[in-house]
């Protein structure tokens, strides 16, 4: 290899995005791409927690929702500018993650899964029942679009660029994090918690910090979602959404930043394709999940590489 591939990727990837923005004329596709971007953020955040720190969360939609509802409440009820609401949304999400993280991350395995699931459920019920603030089950209307001086992000193309610029930024942040002192410590927790402790890593505190970071990513996605759709309702942040985020991470391939991108792309597009199956959609979707996990438990990104390598060695 002449040039390290992880460097080239930072050229290729933005070019693809810029080109996509220029050539995709149809704003429906831009819309789909924007949703893919938002989902990538979600998957990226959870991937840090699940893929790198090895801690499962079945309640991540809660942070997604907290991000969305905080900005909605602040911009609509208190008339704040969305850009002022953004740091608040991230901070609220981080604070909740901090409070919840302390007792929850002491749990392991299925118990951790159940703890996070329960948390997600409770937050969902809060969204639904606190109707004075959240608009209750019928949802929250009138969220303003994003503007930055003269640039309006209400158009599909501008929003597409905004979302993907943020995705790009988060990809870089994640990548830098993973390949740093903290990132190595994080990955060491995944591989052997006891050895990590013996290396002087305060595993509990690190786990909580990653949990908070991953909550912030999710809240960012929630913020973007809220100002894109300009309407939110509790149904968009329920248990099934949490599961879908987990699925994105697992199907894409855990412990690969780019796997999150692929997982998010697949899981966003899959339902669109499956419309062709109409009535069979759920059956096919369930089958795909099962079959992928049975055959390629490493996730598709890694799985496809494995298959490619095998065929290469066989041909030799």
């Amino acid at each position: 290899m002449a040039i390290a591939p992880h460097r080239i990727i930072y050229l290729i990837f933005p070019s693809i995005i810029i080109l996509a923005g220029l050539f995709v004329q149809n704003s429906y596709y831009l819309q789909v791409l924007t949703f893919i971007g938002i989902n990538t953020l979600l998957a990226l955040g959870l991937n840090l927690l699940m893929g790198y720190a090895g801690q499962i969360s079945l309640g991540h939609a809660a942070f997604y929702g907290i991000g969305a509802y905080t900005t909605a409440v602040l911009t609509v009820h208190y008339g704040l500018s969305p850009w002022a609401a953004l740091p608040c949304a991230l901070a609220v999400s981080a604070l909740v993650a901090l409070i919840v993280g302390f007792p929850t991350l002491k749990l392991t395995g299925y118990y951790l899964g159940m703890g996070t699931l329960g948390f997600g459920m409770i937050v969902h019920i809060v969204f639904r029942e606190w109707s004075d603030l959240t608009g209750g089950a019928s949802g929250f209307i009138g969220i303003p679009p994003l503007d930055l001086g003269p640039i309006s992000f209400s158009s599909g193309r501008n929003y597409f660029y905004l979302v993907w610029a943020i995705v790009m930024m988060c990809l870089v942040v994640s990548n830098r994090l993973i390949n740093s002192r903290v990132g190595r410590a994080l990955r060491s927790i995944h591989d052997s918690e006891i050895a990590a402790g013996a290396m002087g890593i305060n595993t509990m505190s690190l786990k909580i910090r990653v949990f908070v970071l991953s909550a912030v990513f999710s809240a960012l996605a929630g913020f973007l979602y809220a100002h894109f759709v300009m309407f939110i309702s509790p149904g968009s942040f329920d248990f099934l959404v949490s599961i879908r985020i987990v699925t994105m991470v697992v199907i894409g391939g855990m412990a690969s930043i780019w796997g999150a991108l692929f997982g998010a792309t697949l899981l966003t597009l899959l339902p669109e394709w499956l419309h062709a199956f109409s009535e069979f959609e759920m059956v096919v979707y369930g089958l795909i999940l099962m079959v992928v996990m049975i055959l390629l438990p490493q996730g598709l990104t890694r799985g496809v590489l494995d298959i490619y390598e095998k065929s290469k060695t066989r041909n030799r």
Binding site: R176, S180, R181, R187, S192, M199, G200
Partner: protein, 264 residues
């Protein structure tokens, strides 16, 4: 980085274990064990299965806290300190079952070892300020030096679990050394190694000793233990039954009985 004291003449005790006891449920894993480790020496810790050797290791490194007794390291009490702070005081360890970070390369494993001797955090990682990058370079260089020291340089880019077991043991030692310890605890470093590997392990231990690092060695390969240790402590059923230089231990009747069963 922590300043290393050049210890040559000073032979004061580095570690003192004083009447340590620990019970799990009804099982008394360790009962009233005391011994001291001199700076710059190698201490062999032996005993049959279930004698409490690993428990002792876990107490010293802060995995558990003792029910009773004290652990003095450089004259400071360290019992009950959480595991990650114990490392900071200067105690590093390896593991009986090779606890490498399988998802990382050989080099990265050692770099994790540098954790306590470096500072940059989340913001540093993301910002990549010159200060952070400098530290990163320093960590990398230090790790490469250590790999060279244990002879793993050619493997630095391989996945840590892909190299042979013997090398993995070496890697664990390099990783522990990256924490710049004063005291290194080796938990059965020769288990599963062949004769050649065991021999180079012995040589490595000698080299580490030359650097002035004190070691406690739990090992079943008696030939190795007896060869490298300056002092040997024998545990049986949670109690210290003998302590002395290897020659004496090898001919000690109590030790013999503990291992071979009471004869006659």
């Amino acid at each position: 980085m922590k300043n290393r004291k050049q210890e040559t003449a000073d032979t004061s005790d580095l570690l003192a274990v004083q009447s340590l006891s620990k019970a799990f449920g009804g099982l008394q894993a360790l009962y009233d064990v005391s011994f001291t480790v001199e700076r710059g020496t190698i201490y062999g810790l032996i005993g049959p299965n279930g004698a409490g050797k690993t428990t002792l290791f876990n107490l010293i490194t802060g995995v558990f806290s003792p029910d009773e007794g004290r652990i003095l390291f450089e004259n400071k009490e360290i019992q009950g300190i959480p595991i990650y702070d114990v490392v900071k005081t200067g105690i590093a360890r390896t593991f009986q079952n090779v606890e490498l970070f399988g998802g990382m390369t050989v080099l990265e494993n050692v770099m994790v070892g540098c954790h306590v001797r470096s500072r940059s955090g989340f913001l540093g990682a993301v910002s990549r300020l010159p200060r952070v990058m400098k530290e990163e370079r320093r960590i990398k260089q230090k790790s490469l030096e250590l790999l060279d020291f244990v002879g793993l340089m050619p493997y630095s880019d391989q996945k840590s679990t892909d190299i042979p077991l013997g090398r993995q043991r070496m890697l664990e030692i390099a990783r522990a050394l990256a924490a710049v310890p004063d005291l290194l605890l080796l938990d059965e470093p020769a288990a599963g190694l062949n004769a050649v590997e065991t021999r180079s392990l012995g040589e490595l231990i000698a080299k580490i000793k030359e650097k002035g690092i004190t070691m406690i060695l739990v090992e079943h390969d008696m030939s190795l233990t007896m060869k490298v240790s300056d002092m040997v402590v024998v545990l049986d059923q949670g109690q210290k039954i003998a302590e002395g230089v290897p020659k004496d231990i090898q001919s000690d009747e109590t030790v013999m009985a503990a291992y071979l069963g009471k004869s006659g």
